[in-house]
């Protein structure tokens, strides 16, 4: 994992000092409300319904145990004993006091963390594959490039006041787990015909109000040109992106309105001026790569197969292994998901006690590192299979072992009307209700791979438009209603879900979801997954049943 050098540390320390000064000036009336808003957003600070909300960066979803202990400490000292993991692999605190935020940021800086550019119309935290470095289908570890991009985007002087927010994601595997087709810029590490590894560059993807699948602007970009090419795209966007209407200001609209051909010609022309003067050297790439070397795996860890016997003795353990662990490229190791989707917990929430406990487990079983996923769970990525049973027992006692990863109750959910000032409808309550309706774990496992994404408003923070089942909260004359979409996907087979029909009332949404699941169970062919069936039969059979009584 990347460790800060003196420059990194000085930068975050100076950022804390700057924001402390800005907060003091604001409280004295020397900075206007409007101006302070722009400044605080660039330090992750929103003002929400109940209190400010602070979003802390989780750079490409990577944390260490010390950082988790610090998050626990902050939750305990400055907040209400919990925090929330987001779809951008970040961490949110829901109850900080404005005056204390500089202190929180100073605490974060002591463990190489910050909240820089986690909101505002600027380049945001770069996200990546949560299985980076350990997945079996990896072409190359994307994390060094994420770190290079993190540094380049941080306090970039020219691109801090863009038309709108700007998000990038990098994937290094064949299977796209980073939703790169739905980012302003998506980067795929790919091999060219000569066997060299470079980037396929996608542009103009995005979710929110107008979901758009990104288009390939550069099928193969040499690594040395990564930053000059990003710079060219950002400069063209900064100059030509719309600023007259915030709903049309994302790069996806610029690409759409100008057409990919014209947009890429502008970028190409700009890039030709830049590319020879700003090359990424092999030395630089290798220096960053050296910070992501594999941990000291035990040789022959696969010889101890006791966990197979333990699975035979303990059915619950076997189920957990099946759903909450995944293959690892090193023999004898597995990556372990910690489910933040226990039935009685708001999706993505974790308490100070759990954070401390996870830090200890990471130290003991996974080389002191923890990852967050864009589906709002945690991962211990490097667990020896011989430790799985003990780890499972401890996770059970921490309420972090619900065996539902990738299933219907592993919902992505935004904070909704309970916390967010943008929301039109509640989402946490609906997630709870759906969980209560689906209380049979065998039924959940029988349904298999099914992703429900639920957002409380059009901004779509929970990526509802790419959920296999998407639920979108809308306001109808002051009451909460929910639109349903089917067939979305954020993976390789990227698709935007189709509307099922008219929105359903709050007291009908859970029933609508269980009806959809029943239609699937009755009509699937053999082991056909939900998404495959929706693609085969369309929305009609679901629609007929959901609206049958209305």
């Amino acid at each position: 994992m990347y460790q800060y050098n003196d420059i990194d540390q000085t930068l975050v320390d100076e950022r804390v000092a700057q924001f402390r000064r800005q907060t003091e000036q604001y409280l004295k009336g020397e900075i206007s409300e409007d101006e302070f808003r722009a400044l605080r957003l660039r330090n992750g600070l929103y003002v929400q319904i109940h209190a400010p909300m602070l979003r802390v960066a989780g750079p490409y979803g990577l944390f260490n145990a010390t950082q988790f202990r610090k998050l626990a400490h902050i939750a305990r000292t400055y907040d209400k004993n919990y925090c929330h993991f987001t779809t951008r692999q970040n961490v949110q605190f829901n109850w900080p006091k404005l005056e204390e935020v500089p202190d929180i940021l100073a605490e974060l800086a002591t463990v190489q963390m910050h909240a820089i550019q986690t909101s505002g119309n600027c380049m945001r935290n770069t996200t990546s594959d949560h299985l980076a470095g350990v997945s079996i289908d990896e072409i190359e570890d994307p994390r060094p490039y994420c770190e290079i991009i993190r540094q380049w985007t941080t306090l970039h002087p020219e691109f801090d006041y863009l038309p709108r927010k700007f998000k990038m994601a990098v994937s290094g595997s064949v299977h796209d787990r980073a939703a790169t087709q739905f980012h302003d810029i998506g980067l795929h590490l790919v091999k060219n015909d000569a066997g060299e590894v470079g980037f396929k560059v996608l542009v103009g993807g995005g979710l929110g109000r107008t979901p758009v699948i990104g288009q390939v602007i550069k099928p193969y970009l040499e690594k040395k040109h990564l930053l000059s090419y990003l710079e060219a795209i950002l400069r063209i966007y900064n100059l030509f992106g719309r600023r007259d209407n915030k709903y049309k200001a994302r790069i996806k609209i610029l690409v759409k309105e100008s057409g990919l051909a014209k947009f890429s010609a502008l970028v190409e022309n700009e890039w030709l001026h830049l590319r020879d003067s700003n090359e990424l050297s092999d030395a630089r790439i290798n220096a960053i790569k050296a910070q992501f070397t594999p941990p000291a795996y035990i040789n022959n860890a696969d010889i101890d197969t006791s966990f197979i016997d333990q699975q035979q003795e303990h059915k619950a353990f076997a189920t957990w292994v099946k759903f909450n662990t995944t293959a690892h490229k090193t023999a004898g190791y597995r990556a372990v998901f910690l489910s933040l989707k226990a039935p009685d917990v708001a999706p993505g929430d974790v308490t100070d006690f759990q954070l401390d406990a996870v830090a200890d487990l990471a130290d003991k079983y996974s080389f002191g590192e923890i990852r967050s996923t864009h589906r709002q769970n945690l991962i211990l990525a490097d667990v020896n299979q011989a430790d799985l049973f003990t780890l499972w027992q401890q996770l059970v006692s921490l309420n972090l072992a619900t065996p539902n990863i990738g299933t219907v109750t592993d919902m992505i959910c935004c904070p909704g009307l309970d916390f967010c000032s943008l929301a039109n409808a509640g989402s946490i309550g609906i997630a709870k209700e759906i969980n209560e309706a689906l209380d049979d774990i065998d039924y959940i496992h029988d349904i298999g791979d099914l992703k429900i994404n639920m957002s409380g408003c059009m901004n779509g923070c929970a990526h509802q438009s790419v959920g296999h089942i998407g639920i979108l909260g809308v306001d109808k004359k002051g009451t909460e209603w929910y639109q349903i979409t089917l067939g979305g996907s954020s993976e390789n087979d990227a698709a935007i879900g189709d509307r099922l029909g008219p929105a359903v009332a709050k007291d009908q949404i859970t029933k609508a979801i269980t009806t959809i699941l029943d239609v699937y169970i009755k009509n699937r062919l053999n082991d056909e997954p939900f998404l495959t069936m929706v693609n085969r039969v369309g929305v009609t059979p679901f629609k007929e049943q959901v609206y049958a009584d209305s």
Partner: protein, 150 residues
């Protein structure tokens, strides 16, 4: 009013002449439109000449009109309009412009560090009481991740 130039407080000698106003003596800035329209008359002007650039002004047009220009004012209608940061970058790093680049209008004293990094070397903030903030905030950071123009 005073301004900050090259990290110093100095007296401002420049006047902006609006498109519909009569030219005045001394050092003046005018819009690109005026510069193109009254070009011959302006070439005969006794004081120095500067251009006042708005975010909407085309970079290419700006580049084509830099000869004989001693000052480029980047005039912010709104601090959130980041296009002028790119204009500054182009002036310094692509067009080799060596004269003064001055931020004017509605920019924040909290933006001067970034502005200086893309090549702006003078600041005429909206309010005189911002001048000390400009001077202080120019030193917000001692480190940086990207190449700088300044």
């Amino acid at each position: 009013m005073q301004i900050v130039k090259d990290n110093q407080l100095i007296d401002n000698s420049w006047k902006y002449v609006a498109d519909d106003a009569e030219l005045v003596d001394g050092d003046i800035t005018i819009s690109l439109l005026r510069w193109e329209k009254d070009h011959q008359q302006l070439l005969a002007h006794e004081g120095k000449l500067g251009l006042r650039i708005a975010p909407n002004d085309s970079v290419d047009e700006m580049a084509a009109n830099l000869k004989g220009i001693d000052l480029v004012e980047l005039d912010f209608p709104d601090f959130a309009d980041g296009r002028l940061f790119s204009h500054a970058w182009y002036l310094r790093s692509r067009f080799g412009y060596q004269g003064e680049i001055r931020a004017t209008g509605h920019f924040m004293p909290d933006q001067v560090f970034y502005l200086s990094r893309v090549g702006v070397n003078a600041f005429a903030p909206e309010k005189v009481e911002y001048l000390p903030f400009v001077l202080t905030n120019l030193n917000d950071f001692t480190v940086e991740y990207q190449n700088s123009i300044n």
